[in-house]
């Protein structure tokens, strides 16, 4: 219970916790925190024509799956195999209300939260850069997938994903 509070608070600040536990040798908790709260490293991606930002700290791997890496469950291709892991997909099209989103042509961004991995399909990766985190404001309090937003170099606004929330939404 107490550990969960710590985890949530750290996740809110954009950090994360790793646990290493070896029998008989004790347990170590590694807290990773962003140096500056307002500026984070972000990976800008495109999903169905709109740009979004993923905090780079949460990204484990980026890859384009081959045909044989798809895993079907009950006839639906909603898992992906990467090395020894079977990774569930985040249904980002449902979360964002996007129609006709073809996942087979997507690049997959494998996100890490706690000890879990989940794959986020995106149309393409644009770039990796430092971003200034801004609030979306009270009108968007119900938009839980968004952590905030940032203004890009070209003046456009991109929404920053709340990775923790994307993980919860899939469960």
């Amino acid at each position: 219970m107490g550990l969960d509070v710590v985890k949530t608070q750290i996740a809110k600040m954009g950090g994360r916790i790793e646990i290493k536990n070896t029998k008989g040798q004790g347990c170590s908790f590694i807290m990773k925190m962003p140096i500056n709260m307002a500026i984070i490293k972000g990976t800008i991606v495109e999903i169905a024509g709109n740009q979004y930002i993923i905090p780079t700290l949460s990204i484990n791997t980026i890859f384009k799956p081959q045909q044989e890496q798809w895993v079907s469950v009950k006839g639906v291709k909603n898992m992906i195999k990467l090395r020894e892991n079977i990774i569930p997909l985040i249904n980002i099209d449902k979360i964002l209300g996007v129609e006709d989103f073809d996942k087979s042509k997507c690049v997959f961004v494998v996100l890490e939260s706690g000890q879990k991995l989940k794959a986020l399909p995106v149309t393409r990766i644009i770039e990796n850069r430092d971003i200034v985190v801004k609030s979306l404001g009270v009108d968007f309090d119900d938009i839980t997938y968004a952590f905030g937003a940032s203004i890009l170099g070209n003046g456009r606004i991109a929404i920053i994903f709340d990775v923790e929330n994307l993980f919860q939404k899939g469960e």
Binding site: N50, G97, L136, G137, D139, F140, I143, Y145, R156
Partner: protein, 159 residues
């Protein structure tokens, strides 16, 4: 003796005239690129970057259930200040076009017609008349929260 009046910024929506208090208006800008926020209510068109500030933008045509129209060179965003629980924050309101600033005397403002559900009336401040034109005076402080859709439709049947 000087008469008591207030200034209003008049704008058009579907060939009807609406107005907001000039006091709560910060600026008027042309329509610009709007970043969509998926899963937000339909009338919230998204957010704009106003000189480095992220500001929500609402489309009054959608909010009032009027026929939607593609934006053109006349379309404007009025940046208003919303006073919500003693906190002032900016918000963009998309309108067909901004026409003028008028002074309306207090005695020229008719109170809004009464409805069964008074809480839905919060957004309508009164009805003004300028040169035989009816102008709906809006109080946009509660525009996001209240469900004025029904009210606007009832009003049209009334007038």
């Amino acid at each position: 003796m000087e008469k008591k009046g207030s200034k209003f910024l008049v704008f058009e929506l579907c060939d009807e005239y609406y107005a907001v208090s000039a006091k709560s208006t910060r600026e008027i800008i042309r329509i610009m690129e709007i970043t969509e926020v998926p899963k937000a209510p339909p009338f919230i068109k998204g957010v704009i970057n106003l000189r480095g500030k992220i500001i929500p933008v609402i489309d009054l045509r959608i909010k009032f259930a009027l026929r939607e129209k593609p934006y053109d060179e006349k379309t404007c965003i009025i940046i208003i200040e919303i006073n919500e629980q003693e906190k002032i924050r900016p918000m963009g309101v998309i309108v067909d076009t901004v026409s003028e600033v008028v002074s309306i005397m207090d005695e020229e403002i008719a109170p809004p017609p009464e409805f069964n559900n008074q809480s839905q009336m919060d957004f309508l401040y009164g009805i003004g008349k300028i040169r035989d034109r009816i102008i709906w005076l809006l109080n946009l402080d509660k525009i996001v929260s209240c469900d004025e859709l029904i009210v606007i439709n009832e009003l049209k049947e009334d007038v």
